[in-house]
């Protein structure tokens, strides 16, 4: 098995700064072909992991966004009904002598099959990264269905027969914990809890994404966000928010955070995404947090 440190370094090169435990999880997942379940707060970069992994492996990323009411039709396949109808009509008009069986075989061939993400993922020559995003939003039936697919990597389509996986995709599932996932799914997957990054790691992320940023400013920005996460907020700012804010500050040509406190306060809209949070972080609070950073 490859060394996980190697993967960690490669991920860093691909622009994703990963914890050691996460690098280990990804190494194992690619090695023993088990799905990897990532849990953590919104905004800690779970989805990006899959993206970085796809980039690193040089394969496609196939994404399935889950939502309530998602069913097998939307995730596996659907027949292209309109084309089927047209085809029937066209044949009736031209030849008129096709046997019913030939016609049926024709319209239920792969040509008329619309592949949805899950079927797409198992029919690639090169194993892609399959990202099943926010699995906790889908219903329990879908979870059970997914389990079946992840166990056998084959799909049965009544009209076509069983389609076996051409290659086994690297599966990454993410969850925000809005619903408790079944033990069966958890057991089937490798697991990793993704936390907010510590200051050092967040600085590294910032440096990787915005190489032009001044070191001292980056340190302040990260320090401030880290302090802010300890406040009681409805929506704790994630990494994406930190990056947005940093970009905003650079765009506003702020060189030192404490230079222009009004501007700083105004720019907090990048970090605070609800009205209650914006009210909670009043200018005095901002100053207190700034004091801790300096």
């Amino acid at each position: 098995m490859r060394d996980y440190k190697e993967l960690q370094a490669k991920l860093a090169k691909a622009g994703y700064i990963a914890e050691e435990s996460l690098a280990m999880a990804l190494t194992l997942a690619t090695e023993i072909h088990r799905p990897l379940l990532l849990e953590g707060e919104a905004g800690v970069g779970k989805t990006d992991i899959a993206r970085a992994l796809a980039k690193l492996l040089g394969t496609r990323l196939i994404r399935l966004q889950c939502y309530e009411g998602l069913d097998a039709n939307a995730t596996l396949y659907e027949w292209n009904y309109q084309r089927q109808l047209l085809s029937i009509r066209a044949r009736e008009a031209t030849e008129g002598a096709d046997s019913a069986e030939t016609l049926e075989n024709h319209i239920f061939s792969e040509e008329y099959l619309l592949r949805r993400p899950l079927l797409e993922a198992i029919s690639q020559l090169e194993p892609p990264v399959l990202l099943i995003d926010e699995i906790d939003r889908a219903d329990e039936e879908f979870e059970a269905f997914l389990l079946e697919l992840l166990a056998d990597y084959q799909v049965t389509i009544p009209e076509l027969g069983t389609i076996e996986a051409v290659s086994i995709p690297h599966v990454v599932l993410t969850s925000n914990g809005t619903r408790a996932l079944s033990d069966a799914l958890r057991r089937r997957c490798l697991y990793s809890w993704v936390d907010y990054p510590d200051a050092e790691k967040e600085r590294a992320i910032l440096a990787a994404r915005m190489p032009e940023i001044d070191d001292e400013l980056a340190r302040r920005i990260v320090g401030f966000v880290q302090q802010l996460r300890r406040e009681e907020l409805e929506k704790v700012p994630g990494i994406a928010e930190t990056l947005d804010w940093a970009m905003a500050l650079v765009g506003l040509k702020v060189e030192k955070l404490e230079d222009n406190l009004d501007l700083l306060q105004a720019s907090l809209i990048c970090l605070l995404k609800t009205e209650a949070d914006q009210r909670a972080i009043a200018p005095e609070v901002t100053q207190r947090l700034m004091g801790k950073v300096a």
């Binding site: 280990m24 194992l28 023993i32």
Partner: protein, 407 residues
Amino acid sequence: MAEPGENGVLPEPPEPPGPRERMRGFIAHLRLNGFTLGPSETALSLDIVRRLDRPTPDGVQAALKVALCGNREDWDRFDTLFRAYWFGEGVRRANILRGENTSTPKRARPALWDKVLPPEDRAGRPIGGAAQATNASDGEEDAEAPSAPHRIAADRRDSLFKTDLREISAKEDIAEAERVAESLARAMRYRLSRRRKPSARGRSLDLRRTIRRNIAHGGEPVDLLKRTRPDRPVRIVVLLDVSGSMKLYSRYFLLFVRGLLCRWMRADAYLFHTRLVRVTDALTDKDPFRALAKLSLMIEGFGGGTRIAGALEDFNTRYAKQAIDSRTVVVILSDGYDTEAPEHLARELKRLRTRARRIVWLNPLLGWKDYEPVARGMAAALPHIDHFSAANSLQALAALEPELAAL
């Protein structure tokens, strides 16, 4: 199987067992601490260790952590458990951690703890901090029940399920109870919403109606008819007594109600003691813990005797009109001890009865062994309620389902 000795530190076994045995022991050790693991995980772990190029303790630890954890609790506790088993660091670490966490009620009140947990399933409690708490005592328990590691995982949920909510007090237990309540409520919600009805904008095809409609087109499906889950919000109005002993129950019940909230099920909650307060807004806070904290603050603010009838009158005059429609279940959680005339209570319940679909009265005291509804208020109320039951355990809450499903 390698079993930790009496002091929690692994004794050197007479003959060094093979890695397979050691790994099996480790899996059993984790299972005792509430991990959901089976024999296939033993094989998986061995496979992973074999695959590691240059296995270092840290590397093995990280790899097994990924493979064997299933949720965040497991994730947070794994490192301690790993080091306890393979390096015998259990006792020392446990003591340090115990020192750090003395503020949690579990350790502050061991006597109560014993009452809640029958001795035989102590080892498998689903407590978040179980690693620290049980490491030191793992030895004895392992020795007591070496043959029943499988049972324990099943037992723990069950026992918690039946425990009187009043007796659950450890922080970790509360969290577990809350989860169970929420998942129960969610399960109920799901069952209630299965039926579909015709709709212009549904997601799934209504095949039967489509065919019927298209007979006029010679069977060609031109008009597609669809169906969807019905959008008929069900409402639940909860009136919670927050006097003295009822406080604890109200807390769980609110959590239960929280789990019910969704697009098509609305819940309205009111607290009463000597007066009535609407708390729906606090209930809908996105963060469950903050919601509970808010509610706890509200609950603490009350004082004096209970006025159930007065509170109901208040509700009937001020809120009932908007809060109640013909599909509303009113749930009252109270012990029925009223300081006012029972006739008053009967009158108000009757008024409420005309508006609401059902009235469910939950009396946690009913779950106690020797309780008879002798409180005068309770006796007067009985003729006017549709369903009277205990709500003192999660099981009793689960039994509510048919009441709500009967809508």
